[in-house]
């Protein structure tokens, strides 16, 4: 038993009665004050590593006591259970402390709790009311407050509910048509599928810093900010769908070594948790520099992007293969079931054809990696990387709701740490880190000694409200964020060496304004009915990773479609109407211009009729027009007696582009039958959002509104 106390075995002398003596001493008022028992927690450093020598000694002492207590606990356990089964009556009346002192079989911890309750004059437990002691619970056996137990379930329901809403909105980020809509009904999504992004104050802050405006629905983010100002980071613990995923995987994934004591260690506050603050400030400074690049790390953006562009298409692919195989089984019921399943999934989860996304493997890989990190550090993403979490953490200092700790009652059982989500030091002896706490309430629910209390306007005696940051690191990372943007922009700018394949969605604002707004949330790519919009890799430079580009070979821009602008939360793609896009009364929105590769075009170089491009050209009048020609063509077979193959004449229609009419939708490129490298292709030049990326003189107007 003494071996269990470890290196401090020599220090622990009288283990069985020490707590009782301490409590009695406190009552009498003549005991040596033990700092971690007197509530003078101001001297205890919040982080284990940063305590000075003297405190470390007390810390050591505390550990000793903890070790000793644990030993005593385990020794007493059989007696405990015996009592529970045999003489429950004595358990129900712990307040009679005089008799309690005499009974040796009593749970010693329960006894102390009762005594301390007397000593404190009943701050924690209402003195008049008898406390229910549950012998099956660890420690004192005082069950958590009913309100906490209820709130814990409310939180779980809230987490599952918000994740479900998030996924439902993501599934609904697609136009599936409507049988009830008449022919002239405008094509719009009925739900605010981008709602989670609109409520995201980090997105609002980034775009506010970069554009000095709050775009339309982003005003909703004030609601989330207000929630944080009252309750702290409840968003992280109760609402955030990405956080819920991490909560789930942190629960399900830990290895054998990630449980018990190792998990307690993993859930202690660590220095690396500062990283998210540095990252967040770097992103905010990058926004000041003119780029909303922080969307790369915004959790809602990450969730939409990785689930929308990775998980859903991959699941569709797998399901399609599985059910496709079932359809080939020559049994009518199986085929019908497979058909109906495919129909149902196409109508609810994905769409009627497989979607592909350019270089989406990296997006999916990063999602898997960050979920897998939960195996080693629970909620690694939320604690270490999430800039929205740290942004809310900055504001959590104002929260009216928070935790109060009664350190004197803490027995260092560490049960609070076992399920701590934010690694915010809920345990006794250290200060609670309000900025890290997700307000999941697990700690209070787990605490067997009545130490932890969440309440409105708590005492802040044992609370650290501000993030623990190092000023130099903060300045350095923020400066790096600010410096990154000019560094990225001098590489290949719009005016100098712009990539011809950076074709932005219709309604996108001018490139610099676009980068000020685009948060790479991938809503536009998810909603695009033709799978035309894709996350850029390095086409638009290092700054433009995962911004939307149109890859016409995979899908073209549907002529009358304006859905990408409808779902864009930041106005990188403006909410244009069909009229504006098609150019009824105004010039149409052009996203590029089509070009012919005569060497590959069937009528131009192979004397074969085709003009599918002309057929698909959606403008009226068509931007592709055909020239009727008679061209010579050689017969494929040699003539009689080895003579030269005969020549004949064919009538052909050779296509041309009218750059004044072409809107760059890419329908021609999509349908060109020359499969690998099309004979007609679009590039970004001539896009109406740019003053400089222009071909024609009449479109070159430096006075126009970008």
């Amino acid at each position: 038993m003494k071996a269990a106390a470890g290196p401090h075995a020599g220090v622990s002398l009288d283990l069985t009665g020490i707590e009782a003596i301490n409590a009695a001493d406190l009552l009498a008022g003549h005991a040596e004050p033990i700092p971690w028992k007197t509530g003078q927690v101001g001297v205890v450093a919040p982080l284990d590593g940063s305590a000075d020598g003297g405190q470390r000694t007390t810390d050591g002492g505390r550990r000793t006591a903890a070790g000793g207590r644990r030993t005593a606990d385990s020794r007493q356990r059989p007696a405990d259970s015996g009592c529970a089964s045999g003489a429950c009556g004595c358990k129900a009346t712990p307040a009679k402390s005089s008799s309690a002192m005499a009974t040796a079989e009593r749970s010693r911890t329960a006894e102390i709790a009762a005594m301390l309750g007397m000593a404190d004059g009943g701050t924690a437990a209402t003195p008049g009311k008898k406390q229910k002691i549950d012998p099956k619970l660890p420690g004192s056996g005082i069950p958590p407050r009913r309100s906490i137990r209820v709130l814990l379930w409310v939180r779980r329901v809230s987490q599952v509910g918000f994740l479900a809403i998030f996924l439902y909105f993501l599934f609904q980020t697609a136009f599936r048509g409507n049988f009830a809509a008449s022919a002239d009904t405008q094509v719009r999504l009925p739900l605010p599928v981008e709602a989670f992004l609109l409520a995201d104050p980090f997105v609002a802050a980034m775009t506010l810093l970069s554009t000095h405006t709050v775009y339309r629905g982003l005003l909703w983010s004030l609601g989330l900010l207000a929630l944080t100002l009252v309750f702290g980071r409840v968003f992280c613990g109760w609402i955030c769908p990405f956080g819920t995923l991490h909560h789930f995987f942190g629960w399900i994934l830990p290895s054998r070594r990630g449980r018990g004591a190792a998990r307690v260690e993993a859930n202690k506050t660590r220095g690396y948790q500062r990283a998210k603050y540095y990252l967040m400030y770097a992103f905010l400074l990058a926004s000041v520099g003119g780029s909303a690049i922080g969307g790369l790390f915004d959790p809602i953006c990450v969730a939409v992007r990785s689930i929308g562009l990775g998980v859903i298409p991959a699941a569709q692919y797998l399901t399609g293969r599985g059910l496709g195989a079932a359809q080939n089984i020559p049994a009518r019921p199986i085929q019908a079931a497979a058909d109906h399943s495919q129909d149902f999934l196409a109508k609810t989860v994905w769409q009627s054809h497989q979607f592909y996304f350019h270089q989406t493997w990296l997006i999916l890989f990063l999602l898997v990696a960050v979920l897998f990190a939960n195996r080693f550090i629970p909620r690694f993403w939320c604690r270490v990387l999430c800039p929205l979490g740290s942004f809310l953490g900055v504001f959590a200092r104002f929260a009216l709701f928070g935790m109060e700790k009664d350190h004197a009652k803490c027995t260092d059982c560490n049960l609070c740490l076992v399920n701590c989500q934010g690694a915010d030091s809920p345990q006794g002896g250290v200060k609670w880190r309000q900025d890290e706490c997700h307000v999941c309430l697990n700690c209070e629910n787990a605490c067997p000694e009545d130490v932890i209390k969440f309440r409105i306007l708590p005492s802040r005696a044992s609370t650290t409200t501000v993030p623990d940051l190092q000023r130099r690191t903060l300045l350095a990372t923020a400066a790096a964020g600010a410096a990154f943007i000019p560094a990225a922009r001098v590489a290949d700018s719009l005016d100098v060496n712009y990539h011809a394949k950076v074709i932005r969605p219709p309604g996108a604002v001018e490139e610099r304004a676009f980068l000020e707004r685009c948060i790479r949330c991938a809503e536009c790519m998810k909603v695009c009915p033709n799978n035309a919009l894709h996350p850029a890799f390095f086409e638009s430079g290092v700054e433009g990773v995962w911004t939307p580009i149109l890859i016409a070979r995979i899908g073209y821009c549907e002529h009358s479609c304006v859905l990408c602008g409808q779902v864009c939360p930041t106005g990188a793609i403006q909410k244009i109407t069909e009229k504006e896009k098609l150019g009824l009364g105004t010039p149409p929105v052009k996203i590029g211009t089509a070009f012919y590769d005569h060497g590959r075009c069937l009528p131009w170089s192979m004397q074969t009729p085709c003009i599918v491009c002309e057929e698909f050209c959606p403008t009226s009048p068509k931007a592709i027009w055909v020239e009727e020609v008679e061209a010579p063509v050689r017969d494929s077979k040699p003539g009689a007696n080895g003579a030269e193959p005969a020549m004949k004449t064919v009538k052909l229609q050779r296509p041309h582009v009218d750059p004044a009419l072409c809107i760059g939708c890419g329908a021609c490129e999509k349908v060109c039958p020359v499969q690998d490298q099309p004979a007609v292709y679009i590039t970004s030049v001539g896009e109406s959002r740019s003053k400089s990326n222009v071909i024609l003189l009449e479109n070159t107007n430096y006075n126009q509104k970008s």
């Binding site: 136009f175 599936r176 048509g177 409507n178 049988f179 009830a180 809509a181 008449s182 022919a183 002239d184 009904t185 094509v187 399609g320 059910l323 496709g324 359809q327 497979a338 058909d339 495919q342 129909d343 196409a346 009627s352 054809h353 497989q354 009915p529 033709n530 549907e558 002529h559 009358s560 479609c561 069937l602 074969t608 009729p609 085709c610 003009i611 599918v612 002309e614 057929e615 698909f616 050209c617 959606p618 403008t619 009226s620 009048p621 068509k622 055909v626 229609q653 349908v671 060109c672 039958p673 499969q675």
Partner: protein, 341 residues
């Protein structure tokens, strides 16, 4: 062996030889896996080479014609509304079908009827790029009235199908009448061997062929490559895959498809006709109201007559000649019993 004996004496140790039972188990496991791997290898062995895929060589045809349906009635009916009268598509369809003896001649009680309109483009009804929704609705209604158990409306669109189905107005009108509107989805396509002249193996929209009766309800319109298209070209909507290659030999492709699909009835919508910039149009100025419905069982004759609406002549349309030569119908529609109503 000496070692084994000594271990027997001293009891089991790390160098003990395995007993007979364990020996048999271990050798048996080795042999089992070896034989299993060899057997699997033999079964799955691929000799290599470029052997042609062995599909059933039989040509597949989908023939939904109703034998003897037209005895004593018109083989082709042309219903025209007067320019000045407010024409309702439903009335014109009814007039045309009545001239051919009514829908009951083509649809029997309990039939599953597929109505195949042209829902190819994201265009409004006024643009006349898709079949007029009122014509589709009239045909659906007639089919139900004739006793059809189920009416399915489907097409393989060119543009985003959801948009085409909704904005053509066909989805709502057909749905309101109780028809099943089926949008093309990847899993609904199966490869079929048509063994045509240019179309051999192609993925087929199975919804359109899983039926007792199939009614072709195309829209008559100009086509920049094929000049005029309606009934025969409408079968492009049956195909999946890269159908943009069909244009390299569009006339033979159309004839191959019309050989594959033989409908029970053709109802050509010429209420409003796209006379220029076909097949997609997009400009109301390119359309012309003609208030005409052509009903027939002969796709070739229907197209041969229909092309005259936009000033074309059957001799200019090679696919009509091909269809005529293949015996799919007659391009000389005047040889049929034609009734104008």
């Amino acid at each position: 062996m000496g070692d084994a004996k000594s271990t027997e004496k001293t009891g089991p140790s790390e160098t003990a030889r395995p007993g007979r039972r364990e020996l048999l188990t271990r050798v048996g496991a080795t042999l089992g896996v070896t034989v299993g791997a060899a057997a699997l290898g033999r079964v799955a062995w691929d000799g290599g080479g470029f052997g042609a895929a062995t599909l059933s060589g039989a040509r597949q045809v989908r023939d939904y014609r109703v034998a003897g349906a037209l005895q004593g009635v018109a083989e082709m009916a042309i219903a025209r509304g007067k320019d000045d009268e407010a024409v309702r598509a439903e009335a014109l369809v009814k007039r045309a079908l009545d001239a051919m003896g009514g829908m009951k001649r083509f649809v029997s009680r309990g039939d599953v009827v597929v109505v195949k309109p042209n829902i190819g483009w994201d265009r409004a009804p006024i643009h006349a790029a898709n079949t007029n929704p009122e014509v589709v609705a009239a045909v659906v209604k007639q089919a139900f009235d004739a006793g059809a158990k189920r009416v399915v409306v489907a097409d393989g669109s060119c543009n985003d199908p959801h948009r085409c189905f909704q904005r053509s107005g066909i989805w709502k009108m057909a749905y309101d009448l109780g028809a099943d509107v089926v949008l093309p989805a990847e899993h609904r396509f199966r490869t079929v061997r048509m063994k045509g002249e240019v179309l051999d193996e192609w993925p087929i929209f199975t919804t359109l062929v899983d039926a007792d009766k199939v009614i072709n309800v195309p829209v008559a319109k100009h086509h920049n490559l094929a000049k005029y298209t309606a009934a025969m070209k409408n079968w492009y909507g049956v195909l999946g895959g890269r159908r943009n290659r069909l244009h390299q030999n569009i006339d033979v492709s159309i004839a191959d498809l019309a050989t594959f699909m033989r409908p029970s009835l053709v109802v050509v919508d010429a209420i409003r006709v796209l006379v220029r910039n076909g097949p997609q149009g997009g400009n109301i100025d390119d359309t012309k109201p003609m208030n005409t419905i052509i009903a027939s069982v002969d796709q070739v004759a229907a197209d041969a007559f229909g092309c005259t609406l936009i000033g074309q002549h059957r001799d200019n349309l090679p696919y009509l000649k091909l269809g005529h030569e293949r015996g799919l119908g007659t391009m000389y529609y005047e040889n049929l019993r034609v009734r104008e109503v």
